[in-house]
């Protein structure tokens, strides 16, 4: 007899809020329909969920609200294909399926007492947002918090509603950048890895956490190494095409590791151990 619950069966949830972030990115806040399950729901920063639109399919998104704010679960979705397009057309009150939490998480415990440098590019800011908010909600546990967030243009920047707080609060330091000059833009202009080098953060007792498009990650890793960050002082999250999310369907492996179970969060030291198949 089955002893564990059915890992494929989603919980039904209601969309309670939706708003556009950029022309191609939209955010959804959902609440599980079963109030007890919602109350008991727990996850760790960095974990993901499979969102389903019944009749269209499922896709993977990071839960980008922090576990310290459990009024809803927030997912931010960039339009990429079938499921994401359908998600973009949903309205408040619509029903979706949620399978969460899945995967591993940022090592928020071992980061205690350390400084953290966040480097986010585009939609890659989503997983970082969870951990950043979590850390701000437990501010005394961590030392300096630095954020470098970049997007192609001001219009492509998600989480704009967070920016006034992040750029003005005294207990973190925020740098925003865009690729090319734009009218009215008062922050940096330049590619993320270059701006990072300029910022010149100290690697001492510090961990850098980066997420973004593959090309940005590649050059950000090089910049971090130049700045003296060791392989185990760099953390990133991987994207692979996923289906089951529970290590069975065989889709997301890199050698012996399954991104859905062993990831999506990896240190650079761990990545180096993996076969070269990113």
């Amino acid at each position: 007899m089955t002893t564990l619950p059915n890992p494929y069966l989603p919980e039904i949830a209601t969309v309670v809020e939706t708003f556009p972030e950029t022309p191609s990115i939209k955010t959804f806040r959902v609440v599980l329909n079963n109030p007890e399950r919602m109350k008991a729901f727990s996850f760790k920063p960095g974990q993901v969920g499979q969102l389903s639109v019944f009749g269209v399919g499922e896709a993977t998104f990071v839960i980008n609200s922090p576990p310290t704010r459990m009024d809803y679960l927030q997912f931010t979705v960039m339009m990429a294909g079938e499921v994401t397009s359908k998600l973009h057309s949903l309205n408040v009150g619509d029903q979706v399926g949620v399978r969460a939490p899945l995967g591993n998480w940022f090592p928020y415990d071992t980061l205690k007492g350390k400084s953290v440098v966040f480097v986010g590019g585009g939609i890659g800011m989503a997983p970082l947002r969870t951990l950043l908010l979590y850390m701000l909600d437990n501010r005394k546990d961590y030392k300096d918090i630095t954020l470098l967030y970049g997007a192609r243009s001001p219009d492509d920047m998600a989480f704009k509603y967070d920016l006034p707080d992040w750029t003005t609060r005294k207990d973190m330091s925020t740098t925003l950048t865009i690729d090319r000059e734009a009218p009215g833009w008062e922050h940096k202009v330049g590619l993320i890895p270059n701006v990072l080098l300029e910022m010149n953060p100290s690697p001492k007792n510090t961990v850098a956490i980066t997420c973004g498009p593959p090309i940005m990650i590649k050059f950000t890793l090089q910049a971090l190494q130049k700045l003296g960050f060791g392989d185990d002082q760099i953390i990133t999250t991987l994207e692979k095409r996923m289906k089951c999310g529970v290590g069975i369907c065989g889709r997301c492996n890199i050698g012996t590791k399954y991104v859905c179970m062993d990831g999506p969060v990896f240190t650079y030291a761990e990545l180096k151990q993996l076969p070269n198949e990113l």
Partner: protein
């Protein structure tokens, strides 16, 4: 183990008896292929050759519903639509009759993934619990068989409930599991205790017919060593046409896809076999594909079976040596040759990427 004897002419009666209360899948000829189909009176099982298609679908159907869903409009407010989801586990009591040891052993490789402490697949598990295997030991190796390379043999009882061995006039029938013992209570079975030596001789001859053993114990490390040697992978995959037949016909390939089908207000979430030889398998939404060429994909297929899986699962290879991927590949890609070459050919220095 109790040894019983089944005379050949009593086989249809035994099958009928087994089929009275369950689905009995037997290998039968369908056009030019031998496939597993439900037994009914008059069906003639093909027992003198390995089926082209293994009985994988008995536990892991090529396509199955994971759940059904229904949208329900609120009659008071038509803008409000609720959704209901129902689990659909379908697991009729089944006997797989006449599979070969390799076919049946394949499920032991599934078990470690589909039913492990971390996660259990309820659909797989329900069918596994409701299915018995009456396996037929092989008399003679076929040209692509290599079960003896991967720790098995033509009379391997692992994973079976009952083992049949062809002997003069019929079969020696031995129980392997407790559930198998229950099947031996049939009055159609005679005492076979005096015929064990005959069966042992058949087992021995079959093993000898396989020829020399090649031990793949170095394969896991060597395949990893060759990971960046793309010249090697391009050589061994040059012929491959990415048809995926090798995965669909493999008793140990277990990857799947999940898709929704909707018609009107209801629909189903369906799981179907999928395969890592396909370009789309790993294509990401960004357009990036970590396995862009057939060489990358064949590397994953062979690597998974002979390196990654054994690394995670106590050295057990995710291949039972049935040889189907060799026999039925349209261009004769030979996994034995690839694994051997990976071990024996020196590794080229990886090019700088």
């Amino acid at each position: 183990m109790a040894a019983k004897y089944l005379a050949s002419e009593k086989l249809p009666a035994w099958l009928a008896e087994l089929a009275a209360s369950r689905v009995v899948l037997v290998p039968v000829k369908e056009r030019d292929a031998v496939v597993f189909r439900p037994y009914s009176e008059g069906v003639k099982p093909v027992l003198d050759r390995q089926a082209n298609v293994p009985p994988k679908a008995s536990i892991f159907p090529a396509s199955e519903s994971l759940m059904s869903f229904k949208y329900i409009k609120n009659p008071e407010d038509l803008g409000q639509v609720a959704v209901e989801v129902h689990e659909t586990v379908d697991a009729p009591p089944t006997v797989v009759f006449g599979g070969r040891p390799c076919d049946v052993r394949g499920f032991n490789i599934f078990d470690r993934v589909y039913d492990c402490p971390k996660v259990q697949d309820p659909y797989y598990k329900a069918r596994r619990e409701n299915t018995l295997f009456v396996t037929l030991a092989c008399e003679d190796a076929e040209n692509a068989c290599f079960c003896h390379w991967v720790g098995s043999s033509p009379s391997d009882p692992v994973g079976s409930d009952v083992l049949l061995t062809p002997i003069q006039g019929g079969y020696l029938v031995e129980d392997v599991s407790k559930r198998g013992k229950a099947l031996l209570s049939s009055k159609l079975l005679a005492d076979g205790s005096k015929r064990s030596t005959e069966a042992k001789a058949v087992h021995k001859a079959a093993l000898e017919s396989l020829g020399e053993v090649w031990n793949p114990e170095k394969a896991p490390a060597k395949l990893l060593e060759k990971f960046d040697d793309m010249g090697f992978w391009e050589d061994v995959s040059a012929k491959c046409v990415s048809c995926g037949a090798c995965t669909y016909l493999c008793p140990t390939c277990y990857c799947f896809n999940v898709t929704d089908e909707r018609s009107g207000m209801k629909g189903e979430r369906i799981r179907t076999w999928d395969n890592c030889m396909s370009y789309l398998f790993t294509l990401e939404a960004s357009g990036h594909n970590p396995r862009p060429t057939k060489a990358h994909r064949l590397k994953n297929r062979v690597g998974h079976k002979f390196s990654y899986y054994p690394d995670i699962h106590e050295g057990i290879f995710a291949c039972c040596g049935c040889g189907r991927c060799i026999k039925l590949c349209p261009v004769s890609v030979d996994i034995r040759e690839i694994v051997r070459l990976a071990v024996e050919r020196p590794t080229a220095k990886p090019e700088k990427s």
